[in-house]
Amino acid sequence: MDVEAAKMIGAGLAVIALAGVGVGIGSIFSSLVSSIARNPAARDTVFGIGILGFALTEAIALFALVVALLMLFAL
């Protein structure tokens, strides 16, 4: 197998990790919505933490993207 094909396959395998990230982000927003539905007054407090959690989870997605880009273009 030549290097180009191996790079493509490696990059494709690297982004399988995004499945877990999708589940994680969906879980954060589902608990955000149900906690606001239970207690609408907590909205301001809970929203900030929810957005922070979303950004931290998205960072994991971007680590996977960086590995894929490394494989395609750097190694």
Binding site: I51, L52, A55, A59, L62, F63
Partner: protein, 247 residues
């Protein structure tokens, strides 16, 4: 046809020769200077009226101040208040660097790993030094989680140390990858519009679709720019809290 990654090339604008050092003023440096100038000018002109009841622009500047002050106060406590000027400067610099990159034909400074890593490593070293000066050798008790069974302590300490050293890496890569991915996606959709239109005939009308997608994506990118500045700053406050209070 331009490739989507051509926007990240660094071009030298002019060369300065200061004290024997050959400093090349690049477009990256220009946009950093621009971010500082725009944020300083915004704050200066917004606070000029200095009215007790703020108008719209002054209200905006005061809301920004209060937002970051509240973040520092609630995440780092009262002992974190001396660090508020640094955190506010950091927030405004990252925010304006991210936002200025959304102007067409401009350059995003935070899309380079060297820029975000420099900021993150300074924050990491600064926070570690603050902790060492404040707590001395007792700082190393930070790595032992409370209430852990004695058998597991060596493994837990190893895991805690590794996750502590990953902090600057994750902080910098999060910001860098968000900016890189967002801007690359915008350019890919732009190239897609050109490719569809160049197929000729009925496809020229179809090329409006990627352009509509770019409008949505730009809105998303503005949200991501603000969000990443917020996350960078709030994580800095949390690391400061860890340094000042050791759990």
């Amino acid at each position: 046809m331009h490739s989507p990654v051509e926007q990240f090339t660094i071009k030298v604008l002019f060369a300065l020769n200061l004290f024997g050092f050959d400093i090349q003023f690049t477009n990256s440096a220009l946009f950093m200077v621009l971010a500082v100038c725009v944020s300083s000018a915004f704050l200066y002109f917004a606070m000029r009226p200095a009215a007790i009841i703020p108008g719209r622009l002054q209200g905006l500047a005061e809301m920004l101040y209060e937002f970051v002050a509240d973040m520092v106060q609630s995440n780092a406590g009262n002992e974190g208040r001396p660090y508020f000027p640094f955190v506010f400067t950091l927030f405004l610099f990252v925010l304006f660097s991210n936002l200025l990159g959304l102007i067409p034909y401009s350059y995003t400074t935070t899309s380079q790993i060297v820029v975000t890593f420099a900021m993150a490593i300074f924050i990491f070293l600064g926070v570690t030094l603050i902790a060492l000066f404040k707590h001395g050798l007792h700082f190393f008790s930070f790595f032992v989680p409370a209430g852990a069974p004695k058998i597991l302590i060596p493994f837990l300490v190893l895991i805690e140390v590794i996750s502590y050293f990953v902090r600057p890496v994750s902080l910098s890569v999060r910001l860098f990858a968000n900016m890189l991915a967002g801007h690359t996606m915008l350019k890919v959709f732009g190239g897609l519009a050109v490719m569809i239109a160049s197929a000729g005939g009925v496809f020229v009308a179809g090329s409006i679709l990627p352009l509509v997608a770019i409008i949505g994506l730009t809105g998303l990118e503005i949200l991501v720019a603000v969000l990443q500045a917020y996350v960078f700053t709030i994580l800095t406050c949390m690391y400061l809290n860890d340094a000042l209070h050791l759990h």
